[in-house]
Amino acid sequence: MDFATLMLRRLGRLLLTVALISTIIFFVIRVIPGDPALVIAGVDAKAEDVAAIRAKLGTDRPLASQYLGWMLSVARFDFGTSLITGQPVTRLIFERFSLTLVLAVLGILIAILLALPLGVLSAVKRWSFWDYLGMAFSQIGMAVPSFWLGIMLLLLLAVKVRLFPLFGAGSLRHLVLPAVSLGLAQAAVLLRLSRAAMIEELAKEYVVTARAKGLTERMVKYKHALKNALLPVITVAGIQLGYMLGGAIIIEQVFSLPGLGRLFLTGIYQRDFPLIQGGVMFVAIVFSLINFTVDLLYSVLNPKIRIG
């Protein structure tokens, strides 16, 4: 089928996924034993207060109507109001989202810029110094927890040497260290992947044809093989981005960044149900969107999928 139809189908699937997730979220919250209104009100609250909270939450209405109400609000992107701060959940999320977005994008860019060249080089010059360096980096990167790395970076570059600010989120400078901590962890995985993908491509038959055509080694490796090796790397990078967009909670904690992660963490501690609900929903939507975009990108890069 042609490209447009394919994309429309994917879009349809995306919407279906989102609807399914919102249904699951709805039922999960209500399946948890205990009355959320009681939990919020506290153990020794008065009955009217509990009833009032229940009315506010909407848990006194019949299930079907609650479900309908929920689905409608999801469609409108209205997740209710935060119980704690009284602000619309949607607004809270979007306020924090821009920070998380920038952080995530920076993180993945650092990861790609580091991992891809090193991974490709590793594959092209196997068993050389670069290869060992890349493998070592990859091993360490996967072993080291990102929050530990974050703390170390803080100690070294923000405390010992006042190169970067300790906390807060005023400028881009504030985001460098957290982005690096995030990025390095992802880079380790991407490096492994790009190395493997490149090695696999270099062993394929079309590479022989390329050499038989008298193309320079550079063209053979970096034009012909690399193009095909990029595909799996891009896919995984996209997934990683989606994950980071959900809020790299621990990193945000370490660097005291007012991002989505902290927002949700606080919400969970405080039992701010509308916030939690809205947060999970948001992350799910974002992730689905990312996957959709990666699919799109993949189609652009891989002609076999794009056309027939």
């Binding site: 394929k204 079309y206 038989a212 056309i307």
Partner: protein, 360 residues
Amino acid sequence: MAEAEGGRLLEVRDLEVSFAQTTRSGPLGPRSGPLGPRRGPLGPRRGPLGPRRGTPALRGVDLELAGAEIRGLVGESGSGKTVTSTCIMGLLASPPGRIERGRIIFKGRDLLCLPAQEMRMLRGREIAMIFQEPSRYLNPSFKIGEQITEMLRLHLGMRRAEALHRAEELVEWVGLGGRRRVLHSYPHQLSGGMKQRAMIAMAISCNPSLLIADEPTTALDVTLQLQILKLILRLREALRMGILFISHDLGLVRAVADQVSVIYAGRIVESAPKQLLFNHPLHPYTRLLLLSIPAAARRGTRLRAIPGRVPDAEHIPPGCAFHPRCPLAEEVCRTQAPETLEREPAHSAACHLADKRWPD
């Protein structure tokens, strides 16, 4: 720009190649390792003289090809035909493979003495190659047009528009109707036969003098096979190209080739003009091979099957490699490797007993 006819376009003399490991290693390198030409931009591409290491893949191959001539190279799997073509192209992966000795003289120059850079410039430009499975040998991520024009721009310095125009001509010449569409297509959008034609268009784009065709029709349906063969004949007629046609199918070779060489266990055992080879084969292997082929004309008779099988590179019998399977074998065959002698004009065979009468 083919060589004047009658002139020797290609001459391979006494080519010996060995491999360090044989498991999971094809002539183009280990299955998961790097492929490619010999490492190092400069320097001879022949190994230093010394004790032979590893298993022998080619044990002294001699081949000749004149311009505007088709030479068939016939052999079963493991006989060394692909290794031979790989060496001619200069694509032998150097870590496992090693050229122990020999010369490959193309238009008067020994390719094994050329620096890697010069060899690379010859590839595609003067010597081109087409392969067996076009779906694997074409890059799936580039359009056909791009894969053709990149050669034209690299080797002939053409500009984009000029190259595209020439690509259109090429694509039409090889019989791919609807040229625009083909140029803008990706390999997976074309059928098997079309892909093979596209690969041929790519290979001949710079008008090479020599084309190596390695089993170009094996992966194709029978009726497509015919069309590709016709195309190859056209290459010889119209473009005066010298073609090395590698195949295990004697029927195809008989239909297409002018001269034929038969390779067995890394050596050429017989070499002759087509008629002579098929009508008066001298080497027992050739003779038995011809007798073992099923054909309508043989209905009702038993095929003369060759007992045993082609030896592995690690276990090549001493003396004549074919002797364990040969009905004529004598003591000398077990101990001494036969020399290649010219028995009739242009007809040579490597057999001690080429004149011996057959028992039947």
